[in-house]
Symmetry: D2
């Protein structure tokens, strides 16, 4: 931690900051410049509250030097992690494709889609049973019934399954039926839910919040891992910007940034981020080329009749075409699927 | 709802969209232009899923004409609402000042602050007992113990009390001890929590999400009111932008926008939005001048030692100075405090 | 300047950074921590290129400690500046109201408006003769003819005059006819134009770019002042965010931030930022309450027929009502108008 | 154009809007709903000012149905364009790699870099002679001298050349020495410069503004083409968001969006957008996979000593590695380089 004093701070103020730091068993390195004085703090910073320091007289700014997340941090875990869920391993060497409808609508629909995505090469079936919707009057999901259909689809196809959870009740139910749970963008900083997801021991896909920084995202992952559950996969699904031609802006550059900062696998969701099926194939390829560990893609038997997010769903035909086009890209980046 | 067809859509596609709409007992108004055909949909749009339409062939765009929120909508409730909580009425004619520490730290601290803010004119004591923190390693609040201190502070001072809730358990506890609950920015789209807040019947202060649009915010309020609880107050606390000189950007223009769109009261939080006590007084005055129904301001007995958000807290002296400076502004906008 | 080394940098890399700094006649303060080493650089940093340092091996980050703008910086010029233009003084003690049409359309129109805004208390007539428009097919302004009308309006009413310039030619023309020139948001980083505005010696109103940080804005002001022209006034006109209910988001908190960082006067434009006449009065009051030195407001004799930006223009009646409502706010903040 | 009236507008107001439209020789299609009345306007909308309409009584909103750009619009020019500059053709079937230093520093430096990038497969040499810098005290470029070095580098290597222009003088000089001119992000809405670039007849690379929407960007291109110069190439270089881990956020999804809306070629700049050489290779591959027509990459003989933007420059070795890794990606997307 570095403390920058205001220009022309007097000796007394500087001393008082220095003694405050030393009282907390931390070492001080003092740099006295013509314009500013800088105080370097060395030692275990957990002992001190940076906000106390920030509000001391003549302190201009506090600069953190190390990240607040530890368990998610690549510095302390240099090898990339793999996360196992159902029959699937997410991580280096694999490209995991999660596909399925935004919302589970009926057992027939889900079976149809499960068979189609399996045939095209997906190893994971996604399907929402609990839908967080902006308006209380929109369709909110089939809940536990939907989870049961997911379980049946797994039995028939062997696909691993993933479902979003929005509450502690949903986690309890999901544990019984599916292989992996998803925390959605709107709940990325629902810390109660994160802790419970951690305690469940289930593999967790953590979507990035609509305006979350990468640092906040990794801190949210830390909440899960800190409960003893290291099975976290990150999923970029677009951030909110002023651009309106796409629903959100897919921040693909988060892939190399995350590969530098964390050991956790990273998945790209080109469906929710762009909001249009037309843009999904090119962004899926871009995600693979950028080094992502997987893709989450919406597929529907009849996009025109989907109960939610129809415009961004691929038909079976378009999805099969996409996976066949993706194969040579996977070879280039040395990933199997 | 308006459906805009793609340029040069063929007759067949247009017919198929038209019959889809008519099948749902809605009326169609057709405008056939040289470049584009436009289909106006008249009737109860709840019968139809706009996303189905959006994914039909040759449909370019669907434009909603009316807002999805009803109970929060000024169109259907033209008079401004008042919300009562404890001994306080929030709404026209009043300027409600909520003040107190970011986090309740001890009973002594809370009592000291409660007396000071009461003396300076606040009618509401705020204090966090459940703290949603970015890092799992930061101080997370005293929980139920903190709520008990709030209750004691109320008994002594007569101040109404408000506390943030982050889980169903927190709501259950808060109901017993405080007068109003707060849903924080990070939970604005935690729909489970919103519904439970609605069911509690308690007055609710709903903070705007860090990157929420006003429309999403009002839809979040709708979740609460739809459970039969009309006692919702909105609180602007800054939105996320690229500017870094302030922690967030206080969107004061939301005040006149909300006054046009909704009947719910609006409160401005100049402390969290700016992140610095130095900017609080001018932004508090700006909020009052813009027509806000109240202010939420952080006050601490010793900002340099606050367990969270010290740099943005006012001292007792600064807070008393601010309230005395605010009085003539309140007279100008015809609000008592 | 502070140089933060990567965790576990080896001695050799640290030495090589240290010698690089010393070669540039700068002093080094070394803080060697368990996790990271920090190198404080003391002396005249203009001698060194921070980007060189940033790309040296094992350097993690370079942190600037002092701002790059000097002449605009309050640290080196603690007293607030006043800027004189025509018959008007902008700065402490005054509230300068600039009012008029977005675009000058005809001499009759301009005269009508000039008389009306003068009567209501404005001291400045604004009117665009060179319009930067998003589409090349939109009305682009009357150019020099428009400036001549401005001059005539000044002769009759005694109002000071201001006009946007978009090119060197426009500056040359404006110098002959008006009292102050305006650099628009889209040209805030048109450095050639800034330098030329500096060389003209004219008072300059510098609008903030649509996504400019306050730091970039002050650096843009520095371009003008560095040419020997200290007569710069800043104008906040809304920044681009994801919110769509208003055209842009008026960042009123820039007022106290600027009052802390610079001595230059600050003006608020509630018309362009909100994009709607309905929101102008409350935001004008908020701006005054926040401590702004003035307001720029669009007024039109017939907003429904304005050639540009009609929806945000006030009628004469609404403008006169606003200025009369503003007077008591000005008294509270001790400003005359 | 669609006019949406306010709920419960009276007959008189509706009639007055309808007659206004008819007076401008446009046809009206009226949809009278229970909640709202919608007026479709059919015909040549250039005859009418949407802003007039927007400010008429009881008008709620005006919705444009067609884009304001025509010459850049794919609807009126369905085949993708190719742009020739020097010995290079930009467009379908090719992947154009523009490489070189951010700033031209000396003739020796430029020659060294030109030979290296040529050897690695680039067909274009980039190099800034006029640098738009945030601070007036930063290095601003060698100007005409730098252009001369570019010309010499072309003579020796046969590479095509491109240089940013910031003023009319710079355009006049550039025409004499280089093959293509670049309009930088900060000048994307410097309409005077756009027009002059159009009149020059030179191929133009138009970078996207830091917070420009795709629609504004295409309107900026329209300014150039409207002067009779169709040789425009678009370049995405990152947009401004709240994320700080990268300098800007590279909006790769603009590639499929642009491919749908315009016939102009699109280039991706992974250097300026990410701000770090470490992220350049993965984002370059992502850009190619997404369908971009080319890449603009910073390369420097000694990044640690670059006069600007060192941290984002590739060394010769890293650049050669990248181009060899890009070749198989180019084969997959059927582009030569």
């Amino acid at each position: 931690m570095i403390i920058i004093m205001k220009p022309n701070s007097n000796e007394e103020q500087i001393s008082s900051v220095v003694s405050y730091v030393r009282q907390h068993d931390l070492e001080v390195h003092l740099s006295t410049g013509k314009e500013v004085t800088i105080i370097g703090v060395v030692g275990n910073k957990d002992k001190i509250n940076p906000e106390h320091l920030a509000s001391m007289k003549d302190v201009e700014r506090i600069l953190p030097v190390t990240e607040s997340y530890k368990l998610a941090n690549k510095k302390f875990h240099p090898e990339p992690s793999t996360v196992k869920a159902g029959n699937t391993t997410i991580g280096p060497g694999n490209l995991t494709i999660m596909a399925g409808p935004c919302a589970v609508e009926s057992e027939e629909q889900l079976m149809l889609i499960a068979r189609a995505v399996k045939k095209a090469g997906a190893t994971f079936l996604r399907g929402g049973a609990y839908k967080p919707r902006t308006s209380p009057y929109s369709f909110q999901g089939l809940e536990e019934e939907g989870l049961r259909y997911m379980q049946n689809a797994k039995k028939e196809t062997g696909l691993s399954t993933i479902c979003e959870v929005v509450s502690l009740e949903a986690i309890e139910a999901a544990v019984k039926y599916v292989d992996m749970i998803q925390i959605g963008a709107r709940n990325m900083q629902n810390f109660i839910l994160l802790k419970e997801a951690g305690r469940s021991g289930m593999p967790v896909l953590l979507k990035r919040g609509l305006s979350a920084t990468i640092e906040e995202w990794l801190n949210a992952a830390e909440y899960i891992i800190a409960e003893g559950n290291p099975n976290v996969v990150l999923c970029e699904r677009g951030i909110r910007t002023f651009e309106t031609a796409t629903r959100n802006t897919l921040d693909i550059s988060c892939v190399p940034v995350l590969k530098e900062k964390t050991h956790l696998p990273v998945i790209i969701d080109p469906s929710h981020s762009t909001g249009s099926y037309k843009y999904v194939p090119s962004m899926a390829k871009a995600g693979v080329a950028a080094g992502a560990d997987g893709l989450m893609i919406e597929v529907h038997n009849n996009p025109a009749c989907a109960l939610s997010d129809g415009p961004q769903s691929l038909t079976f035909e378009k999805f099969a075409k996409l996976t066949s086009e993706l194969r040579p890209f996977c070879q280039l980046v040395e990933r199997d699927f």
